[in-house]
């Protein structure tokens, strides 16, 4: 017991230290009142896909803000296809826009091409993509998101139980961070174990696939208490998992995810739904903030922080109704 308390203290201390380090190299999203104009500027925007609520809102946030500031967006949606996104980036480099903003995507696939953007002398800003080539990454604090979601789950579970984990997108840096934070938190809760093998969430048909996989898991673990929770790094698999659990009447199981799509926030707000919690981000504001950072850079302010963190909200059964209102106002 004492060792567990110690490890929790160590965890809190480590988290605090990490937060301090991260804080020193980043800044919270700044107010936008002083954003310079983008008149006469062309802004390349490349995203891997927009079929998910988060992707679309962040993409739209960028396009709207470029237009609002008087610039011309060259907006490119790769339809969730890495080859297409690479081709679009290659052509975008040839177009020589004033700045390029890249949103999400598979880190290892993108890195050589992001490097080429910088080699071509084009400033690069990213949304949710960590890259040494990026001047600034606008994102939620995914370390914090991963930690608070995992702590909420551990708390709801009373510190013990088996959990099903979807880990299909470790190659997406933000998903990897959330997953690693889950593992870090679980070190302090040795009685919570991940069922192996982990599940792989897929794109497309994410909801249907997650529904089928969780249904299979529930058949494999048929007794109450066999499975305590389902965790996923985003909330589209959470939708499928929540529906599968509800359909199987396994009321003791809770689901956890990230993003805060409106339908998932509603599920969390429903006292009878198995959705336990979701961390809601502000994707529209994230996209807008990335453009504002780029505009400041183009106006000569080269002291941009390495990261701009846009606040996120942990939505639980207890605060869902209130949180839903603030999310609607903020995004």
């Amino acid at each position: 017991m004492q060792s567990r308390t110690m490890s929790r203290r160590a965890l809190v201390a480590a988290t605090a230290a990490a937060t301090g380090i991260v804080w020193s190299v980043c800044a919270m999203a700044q107010p936008q009142a002083d954003v310079p104009t983008l008149k006469g500027k062309r802004v390349g925007i490349t995203v891997v896909g927009t079929e998910h609520y988060w992707d679309l809102r962040a993409y739209q946030g960028q396009i709207d803000e470029v237009k609002r500031l008087g610039g011309t967006p060259i907006a490119l949606d790769a339809g969730r296809n890495d080859s297409r996104q690479i081709a679009q980036i290659q052509t975008l480099i040839a177009q020589k826009p004033d700045v390029i903003i890249e949103q999400l995507g598979n880190g290892p696939v993108l890195q050589p091409w992001l490097r080429k953007i910088r080699t071509a002398g084009i400033p690069l800003f990213t949304v949710d993509t960590i890259s040494p080539s990026s001047l600034n990454d606008t994102t939620s604090d995914n370390y914090n998101i991963g930690e608070k979601l995992a702590l909420q789950m551990a708390s709801d579970l009373g510190g013990h139980g088996k959990i099903v984990v979807f880990n299909g997108f470790y190659s997406v840096p933000v998903c990897a961070i959330r997953y690693e934070e889950l593992k870090l938190v679980l070190k302090a809760f040795p009685d919570i174990t991940i069922i192996e093998p982990e599940l792989r969430d897929v794109i497309p048909n994410t909801v249907q696939n997650a529904y089928a996989q969780v249904t299979d898991m529930l058949a494999k673990y048929p007794h109450d208490g066999d499975v305590a929770a389902v965790w996923s790094a985003w909330d589209v698999p959470q939708v499928g998992a929540t529906q599968a659990i509800a359909a199987a009447h396994r009321t003791g199981i809770r689901t956890y995810g990230v993003d805060g799509s409106p339908d998932v926030v509603k599920m969390v707000a429903d006292p009878n739904a198995p959705a336990g919690a979701v961390v809601a981000q502000q994707p529209y504001l994230i996209g807008k903030t990335a453009v504002d950072n780029a505009a400041r850079y183009l106006a000569g302010d080269h002291q941009v922080p390495l990261y701009s963190f846009v606040p996120s909200v942990l939505v639980t059964k207890a605060n869902a109704a209130e949180a839903a209102k603030s999310i609607a106002q903020g995004d």
């Binding site: 011309t72 060259i74 907006a75 490119l76 949606d77 790769a78 339809g79 969730r80 296809n81 890495d82 080859s83 690479i86 081709a87 679009q88 290659q90 052509t91 975008l92 040839a94 177009q95 020589k96 598979n106 290892p108 696939v109 890195q111 050589p112 299909g168 997108f169 470790y170 190659s171 792989r200 897929v202 794109i203």
Partner: protein, 329 residues
């Protein structure tokens, strides 16, 4: 489409429909390229056109494979030659290359496994179609599913990042300011054009596809040639996988998405041939046409969503025109 239906008696001064279609398609290509050159800044530069070729290489290699299969199996879309497994085969071979490379195997072994796997999938298709008489549409649909499943087994549906000297060369610069990938496209096009036009293979393959009974009576190994086309298509998918691995720094899910473009370009390619037949040159023209459309639309800042719609309209137009020309009377 048969050669006879396109060469029905014409009144004097009337242009054969095949020729009309070919001229129309070529004009469309010239107009589209001309418009982009006039409207899209940077379109007509050598480096941009080299980019288009580089971006088209994977699609071109797969479309060449499809073209060979259609030539050897006959151009009937339902009963003739078709290989729906090419996109999934590409994904499987790419995944195998990345997995082998990450397991510490050298470039030679990894490339051999990737290309060998592609050829093996082609052989499975050939056995199912030629030996057991399964319709190509169904046989290759099944192997497409099998390849997609095997790819998931290898990758666990994740990105496999890899780096190797071979991939560095393929992704790197080549002679005369072109990339090595560009040169791969040039070399494969030249090799296939040579085989199809300067050796008896091309004519025999066409005979096997259009007139199998006559070809058999003439002593041609009809089954072996049909099978050879599927194996060649699979091998091309394996080669394309190495190019894709170089562009993506490994393997990434979603390769199967390319299938529609492969079908489109092999269908569209026929309008660039004299007798509305699938040819390597016609397929290359179709691939580059689609590549120019995608590139040009981006350069003039027209939404990429339009390209999907245009691809669909092109497929429908080509198939409708061919059906119209095939109609008796």
């Amino acid at each position: 489409m048969t050669a006879q239906s396109l060469s029905r008696p014409l009144s004097s001064g009337q242009m054969p429909p095949a020729r009309l279609l070919r001229i129309g398609a070529t004009l469309l290509l010239i107009v589209a390229v001309g418009l982009f050159a006039a409207m899209a800044p940077g379109f007509a530069t050598a480096s941009n056109l080299a980019d288009v070729a580089e971006q088209s290489t994977v699609l071109a290699l797969l479309a060449f494979g499809m073209t060979l299969v259609v030539i050897a199996g006959g151009p009937d879309v339902v009963r003739g030659g078709i290989d729906l497994s090419l996109g999934a085969n590409l994904g499987l071979c790419d995944a195998l290359y990345a997995a082998m490379s990450n397991a510490g195997h050298g470039d030679g072994t990894s490339a051999l496994v990737a290309v060998g796997a592609g050829a093996a999938v082609g052989l499975v298709n050939a056995v199912a179609i030629i030996r057991f008489g399964v319709p190509p549409l169904l046989a290759t649909l099944a192997s497409m599913n099998a390849c997609a499943g095997l790819e998931l087994v290898v990758t666990q549906n994740t990105v496999l990042t890899t780096d190797s000297p071979l991939l560095g060369i393929v992704a790197g610069p080549g002679a005369l300011g072109l990339s090595t990938t560009d040169w791969i496209l040039v070399a494969m096009t030249a090799a296939l054009l040579l085989v199809m036009h300067a050796t008896p293979v091309g004519l025999r393959l066409r005979a096997v596809g259009l007139h199998p009974r006559a070809a058999r009576a003439a002593g041609l190994p009809v089954a072996a040639m049909g099978a050879g086309a599927y194996v060649a298509a699979g091998t091309l998918a394996g080669l394309a996988a190495i190019v894709q691995a170089a562009r993506l720094s490994g393997s990434s899910p979603g390769s199967g998405d390319i299938l529609l473009s492969v079908v489109l370009t092999s269908l569209l390619g026929v309008v660039f041939s004299r007798r509305l037949q699938p040819t390597i040159g016609g397929t290359l023209a179709a691939v580059l046409f689609i590549g120019c459309l995608v590139n040009g639309f981006q350069l003039v800042n027209v939404s990429s969503y339009w390209v999907n719609g245009i691809e669909g309209v092109l497929i429908l137009s080509v198939v409708a025109l061919r059906s119209l020309l095939q109609r008796p009377g």
